[in-house]
Symmetry: C5
Subunit: 337 residues, 5 copies
């Protein structure tokens, strides 16, 4: 995506742990990393994390090493996949999206993460460096955790759990932003606000497109038939599934809230138009008849005896005052004040 990143060489991270031991190396060149990934020994769980997919040669090398299917490799390289689970002979391929929130630009960032699960290994391909997997790392680095005594499927579960948790964080930030707009909407509906609604709507639409298929993918993983996912892990995946359902709940609620705010905004605009019109109507209705009266007495007819009388002027002023009072009473009755 970012050309500048393409020039930086790809860095890999390798971890291999058993209940007793744990090897963890970061910032490796791809060749170094693959040298550490001896599949034949088959002891413990192996984790390989490729931090960017900008270099197809690296992806192809990794795929060859782990015996991945060509179609899988194609999907890893084209980073516009929907979240999905695909089963290959003895591998499971899970595509998910890693969300972030750029607080400065006030928008959601999206990155594709590909997870390939083998018998005792898990390979991750990320789009850009930087991720949400630190809780996972901490767990396999700590001796005695449940993760250390489980297989690669548990590692996959832990990654998925971390991803879904980070989704929740992003959603909450978007929700906070929406609520901030909502409050200011009550006080002062500005056009800028409407633009904010429009942008919010697009973001929510994008989040929905990430989260709905994610739920389906997690569900498919729960009912996986390749035997790569153990029944104990399946129980924990049910928990992840529940979280994705909650994500959907939140995103749908935000959508409804935005729709309701949109209505609120339109109503505010209508109300303002109404209040503007009332001011115009009150002023015009008050002064146009009065001006007519002054017009009458401003006519230049020679024979208007009223103009000659001493009481003419105060009488005219009195007439106008009476008219104004009648108008104001009318407005009062209409409830315009």
């Amino acid at each position: 995506m970012d050309d500048g990143i393409g020039e930086t060489p790809v860095r890999c991270e390798v971890a291999r742990y058993t209940e007793a031991t744990c090897l963890h190396r970061r910032e490796l060149a791809p060749e170094e990393a693959l040298a550490l990934c001896d599949l034949s020994s088959g002891e413990g769980v192996l984790w390989l994390n490729v931090d960017r997919v900008s270099d197809p040669a690296v992806v192809h090398a990794v795929a060859r090493h782990f015996g991945m299917h060509p179609l899988l490799v194609e999907d890893v390289l084209h980073t516009a996949q929907r979240p999905k689970l695909e089963a290959y002979d003895n591998q499971l391929y899970l595509v998910v999206r890693m969300l972030g929130y750029d607080t400065e630009a006030e928008r959601v960032t999206v990155e594709q993460v590909s997870l390939v699960l083998g018998r005792n290994w898990l390979v991750l391909f990320q789009e850009n460096p930087g991720d949400v997997f630190d809780p996972v790392r901490q767990r396999f680095l700590t001796p005695g955790t449940r993760m250390r005594s489980r297989g690669a499927d548990w590692l996959l579960y832990a990654c998925l759990d971390a991803l879904v948790d980070s989704h929740l964080g992003v959603l909450e930030q978007v929700d906070d932003r929406i609520e901030a707009v909502e409050e200011s909407l009550f006080e002062n509906p500005e056009r800028a606000m409407f633009t904010a609604l429009h942008v919010g709507r697009k973001q929510i639409m994008e989040l929905r497109r990430c989260i709905w298929p994610l739920r389906d993918a997690v569900n498919a993983l729960q009912h996986d038939e390749t035997g790569l996912v153990s029944p104990e892990t399946t129980l924990y995946l049910r928990d992840v599934y529940d979280h994705t359902v909650r994500l959907i709940d939140i995103v749908e609620t935000s959508r409804d809230t935005l729709a309701s705010m949109h209505d609120l905004y339109l109503t505010s605009v209508s109300n303002r138009l109404n209040s503007v019109m009332k001011v115009l109507t009150i002023i015009s209705t008050l002064f146009i008849p009065l001006s007519f009266v002054t017009g009458i007495f401003g006519m230049n007819f020679r024979h208007m005896t009223v103009l000659e009388k001493g009481w003419g002027y105060p009488a005219a002023l009195g007439l106008m005052a009476a008219m104004a009072a009648a108008m104001l009473a009318f407005f009062k009755r209409k409830g315009w004040f």
Copy 2:
């Protein structure tokens, strides 16, 4: 949720009853309560009610005592679960939401209740003290009731029934509030009313999110396959299920009513604008031409013979009266009065 509550120590309530006997103790410290919960004897039905989940240590102690799954405990502690049923080896875990209505703030309060059903016991975890289970207590305290001769599944049914009944009460209060707004909307559509609609919409959305998954959970309970729920109880659960369907009916109706009221409000706003515009138009259309006439006779041309004549002034007034009459006839024909 409320920090102040966290400081108050957790209180427990224990009941153990058979057809013949019934022990009931309230306001116990957790250790005292657990001491009363001897699972090995296995006689009668045991009920343990933990009145708040603010202290994780207590929850973990209870979970250990009853052999609950770690994932279940996690869900008990994180009180933002959607209503759901989860089956573990020999336990059923049901999360529901207990609704209340704060009449002062005119809003719905929501609290998570976790029910864990074992072979002959039921454990409840509430978020805050205070609940809707008094009818349940009364039934197991009264000798000879059906409950006394049944197992823990019947106790679960009774709790669920009480919860769903309290949902109905809350929904009716929300409905009353909506109807009150509706009536005043017909008479006097104010902006405050619209804000009320907006708030009502959000509340109904929240209630929907409680009630729809509740129905699914009750349905899953009816078709439970762990053998913890007896066929006789299943028949009664069908009744609870019917009630949840009725709740959905009510909540969807409220939603439709709110949508219809929103339209009604917008129409009222339009109509008011229309009536304001009509007043403006009538006044302007009446007096602007008349003022023009006065303007003509107010011009200072030296050679306007009409100004010199004695009949000029009355003729001008007559002309203006005729114009006004014509205008009023026009408005009459347009149906503006």
Copy 3:
């Protein structure tokens, strides 16, 4: 519902017919009626109609006599059930709603009817006296009809058929009312009309809530597995099912029509605002510039030679006439006449 009715004693109606004989008694006291309901003889079909459920003691007595389930009795007494079918050991319980149309108040009345089918008997519980079952009575009173040679399931079918037919009648009356509003809407859109739309929408919503679950109940009855409904009757129930589908068609069409009328109303309001604005604009645009001209010649400058000339006044009038003509041409071109 109506307190006054609660004081009137409950009246029952009993019928027992075979192919050859028919006993029919109305206005019986509950004890008399039950005395006639000897279930042990088992000959012919027995019909018991309880005309109101205001007295729980009577309902309980009837339930005991026929061996009805406690849950069933509870649903009979709480008259806010949705239409549904419930199967008990050797009984079928069907709740439906009997509709009426109060032509004076122009609104739909709703009453719950509970039908309990046993091996050779059918018990009806109504909410209020008065029903739509006269065609049914006529059929079992007439010797040689198909009903006389069939079992209690056929009697249930006949009652259901009568109910659905009466639904159709009510829907047609509601539809006629909507069409009446529609026609007047084209001619004269008044605010009162909009209120009528709002009320119509609520009524249609209520009817939907009666009819959709009715369809499901009839469908469930068709696929009943208790053996209480014979295959021949099932064939006839398919016909009733078709009628409920037609009811749904009608009610959905009414809903669409109301939505379309709502749009029509709003458009009419917009159009009226537009036409009001045009009148205002034409008058203002015509006379404001003319008034400006009179204003110019009404200024009191000493050195305005045009005021001194004999041709000044006619020239000013000519100028104003030309301006008016230009304006009118402009409006013509805009298509405002």
Copy 4:
């Protein structure tokens, strides 16, 4: 439906064909027609077409002759059925609707056609004389066509195909009408147009109610299990099914188009209001301040030296010209020209 038609006697049409022979008689009295319908011989395919159902006696006679079920007869006589397929012991009953387009009244006409398929015969009941089955007649009258060598199920398929083709024709006419309105809508949005939209919407709603259940009926026919429809015919029915799906596509598209046109209309109305308001605002904003200036110099104060000066009048005119220019520049900047 039409009383006048009821008085005309019912006419029937009979055809009986084998691969080698074909008998075809029209305008027969019902008794003559039934005399030709010898079911015992069982050779070839028999077609009986009853041109109206106004005389129940005729329908009952035909039903007796062919051994039709009483429920089927009832549905034939009540001509407000939804399209549906019903299987009886050894007969299939298909109800469809025959559409026409009355070009003068610009509206769709609907007529019920009942088709009853037996082992080697097909009976049609129409509501009114006149139909769309001429292509079918031509096929069985022509020796050597596929129809001549097939059974009655193929005849049913041919009738259905002709009906669905005529549906397509009607839909295209409705669509043309909508497009005509759409084009004029772009040019000149009138209120009459909106009424046209409203009427179009009602027609499309009616067509949907004919076509959606038709699809279901054809689908059910494809999966028929009575053995009356041969596998070869089923293949051809798949083709009819595809056509009904296309009909649905067209009708749904029309619906979307109408909704979009409705929005377009409302927008046009708003835009016109906007443009009217701009004219009013420009004129008022231009001349009201100028009139104020003339008003100032029209005041009758004795001591206004500016009125005495020779340069006063040109200066006042200059001031007004400058104000007008400033206003026009302001409008230009606002983009109102």
Copy 5:
């Protein structure tokens, strides 16, 4: 479709390849092409591409040669089919739509492509010359590609893949167009823009009608039971299926975006009306009262002593300035500047 094309003779393209050899001939007359299509030899994969279906005689000749079903031929000739898959005895018939984007007219072009798959051959019928299959040609012309070693089902997959890829290109162009409109909408909402929205909506509707059934057809192809599609190809079809799901995602997003833009447009119109009204109100409210004051002092009463005084004129001007200042302060407080 285009009459002029009907006159040009139909041209065919034939390819026959095995792993080792490849024959490819273009611009053949139909007879020449069929002469090359020897089905009996059965070696390698045969591809016949008929570049237009304007001449039914050619289509019938091809159909006879390959033994296609009459219904299939009918669908090939009637080029308004929805995308679908149909299985015949030993042939699969797939109808898809080939999209193009006419950048000048800014609209999508649609063409029907029929693909008939036999044991070792694939026949394509296009509506017009020109297609998107060049990547397919390149693959079978290049020795050693996977295609060369696979059967006709792989060729079908490759064609489908090329088609779906081209759909994506077209969708992106439509999307770009929508985004261009969106950006200008923020800056300057014109009526022309709304027309663009309306047209965009119709195009998206048309694309949906192409893409939704395409997904179903690809899905049916994946689960094909004729044995014509090998399991290896099925794996690759899953990839095509994923692409169609992504197409649906994009098209639905565009639809939502258009709906949101429509709202944005309407809001812009409302806001402009509001701002126009504000200008009118400010000007009127400012000057109408001032004009009234000049009117008072323009009256011709003889006894208005204020007119005689030297301070009268400056006092009147001061009064008017004060009134204007008060008005401006009022507008400021209302937030109208």
